[in-house]
Subunit: 330 residues, 2 copies
DNA sequence: AAACAGGTTGAAACCGATTTCATATGGAGG
DNA sequence: CCTCCATATGAAATCGGTTTCAACCTGTTT
């Protein structure tokens, strides 16, 4: 691996000049410049990013901390972040936290030690803020709001509106007896969606019925069983996300229920599989790609000293598919 | 951010001594050692990893290049790699190549410039080898074999056996007219699975019928249409992977076919969704987690100078689920 | 011819760690 | 008491870049 000093020697100039040529930070005599470029080409010289990052205090690395990369929702977000980062010449350091606060902290520390330019975090740890030590790296909080982290921006979808739309849609599809499988109430996502559900129930004079369910498939299986044993005559279910909706569907199927004939079902997120599944899931569309893209952009803009908007709430919309049946004659 | 010199000054020792304390590379007087540890604790000092990596020529970063992180198969592999790397105090730099050779090359270059300790690559670019410039970083090739890269190890499942097992299973389930949707023939995965199919056909005196299909959902939709228009009386389909199997299922459903009554269907990979889907997909189980784990282990072992086995082929097995129907009385 | 402006250039310091090497210290052995 | 050796320690070099700063041109103005 050839160094900048080696290039300088071969081109008969100083390392400073080579640096100026590769970075365009100052004028260089065009003859020398050509000579340097030739040598660079000949030797295949590439500046060592570590050395550069060490001096500049910026490694062009963005840390992305997700609870679980296997979860399609986070996979899709990660993909969008990666793509936008790549466009801006940043790289992604991916950390899978497994909802493990210790692991998150360790990863944050590593990113700090690496002079990362930003950390985009999707976390479930409500007490994370209190445990973080001194950290230079700016945070962007994605998908769920948590308290106490002094993030530079937070990005989420309009969960409240989503909760309202989903509930209202089930109503319009003829449901009289809707159960909400509400997500974790410690996060804004769970709270807001549930609030949306409650408000619609109040507005339409509907009975409010709910149970708690975490955001993953296994929890969905468990909660679906609980739901069936607890509530009778259910004709509409609001799952807290698409993975849970899939779990619910499978439980319903195994118990002999038909969807949407007997029970109608709404997901949330619009992960790719919600459309690939048979039947295709009616769900609330979060603009996953746009959210991921913005997260990466915010980090880049912050690094460039540009002003950024702190609160970013994305609009949601409804995908009416095969697990609900809109009575068109309404 | 406090530096090692600052710690040294406060503890009344030299930076060298502090370094020796944190790395345990030499004996240090226990009084001084305690003093240093106290100062480190007070100041919250964490050594800068960039500086360390620059000198050591090892950044404890493993590059992972996947064609598409949204694809569940790669998501699951990435997860396994991340976990094992984490256990060994390595971090993952994730690159999504979109099957774009340019992007892969750029990422390889970056990883090289970052003194990464290894690159685990799942690539579709057969001509990658010829385009890679000088690169210090050792490669591990995962899932598909490509020619010309001088990797330190390659890891894949026994695709040939998988192809045989899948075909034989369809036969035992009563299929007479099996079509193989074969994956890209430029990769060992596609070749070997197809070879397995062909060999079983020959052994049982079956007609060989196939068409080409890439490894993604959209391609699956296209190829399924082609299949139905090209072959009549099909009663068994060997999809090249699970995503394609899902696409095929949806096309069959829309055309009024019943699975497995009219047509039986086999996937490949055993991605998580193959079991979550309704119906659950019969498929060939690749030990995804084990493969990912080994990939990370190989990099770590190589970094430690330990000997490693170059060729690693993992055994596969069959998951008999709801898209095929084994006649038990056989 | 002296003074000055403007643009190039390289030596050296710097980023923050690690490691080499030479020196200082202390105890054992003659 | 002196030599010898082992151990502990810090100064300085190193990794490979970037940037500051002073020096050095070249040409223009007075």
């Amino acid at each position: 691996m050839v160094s900048i000093r080696e290039v300088a020697k071969r081109a008969g100039v100083s390392p400073a000049t080579v640096s100026r040529v590769i970075n365009g930070t100052a004028n260089v005599d065009s003859i020398k410049k050509d000579k340097v470029l030739t040598v660079i080409h000949e030797t295949g010289f590439k500046p060592n990013e570590l050395a550069r990052a060490l001096f500049k205090k910026s490694s062009k690395i963005i840390g992305v901390i997700v609870p679980n990369i296997e979860n399609a929702f986070f996979g899709e977000l990660a993909r969008a972040i990666e793509e936008e980062a790549y466009q801006n010449n940043y790289r992604i350091l991916l950390c899978n936290s497994q909802n493990n606060t210790e692991k998150e902290l360790l990863n944050i520390q590593t990113l700090n030690q690496l002079n990362a330019d930003g950390i985009i975090i999707m976390t479930n740890s409500e007490d994370l803020a209190s445990k973080i030590g001194p950290c230079q790296v700016p945070f962007v909080i994605l998908d769920r709001k948590i308290e106490g982290l002094d993030e530079i921006a937070f990005i989420e979808a309009d969960h409240y509106k989503g909760g309202r739309m989903a509930t209202e849609h089930l109503l319009q599809c003829g449901c009289k007896n809707i159960v909400c499988m509400r997500g974790p109430q410690k996060f804004s996502s769970g709270q807001q969606r549930f609030l949306g559900y409650q408000d619609i129930c109040k507005e339409y004079g509907l009975k409010e019925q709910w149970l708690d369910c975490d955001y993953d498939y296994e929890e969905g299986l468990r909660a679906a069983e609980e739901l069936l044993s607890k509530f009778s005559d259910v004709d509409g279910i609001l799952a807290c996300n698409d993975m849970v909706a899939i779990a619910v569907y499978k439980v319903l199927l195994s118990k002999g229920f038909h969807v949407p004939e007997d029970i109608q079902l709404m997901g949330f997120d619009n992960i790719r599989f919600s459309k690939l599944f048979a039947p295709e899931f009616s769900t609330i569309i979060q603009p996953i790609r746009e959210m991921g893209t913005l997260a990466a952009q915010v980090v880049v803009m912050h690094a460039n000293g540009e002003p950024i908007q702190k609160e970013n709430v994305f609009d949601v919309s409804l995908a009416e598919r095969q697990t609900t049946r809109h009575t068109k004659e309404k």
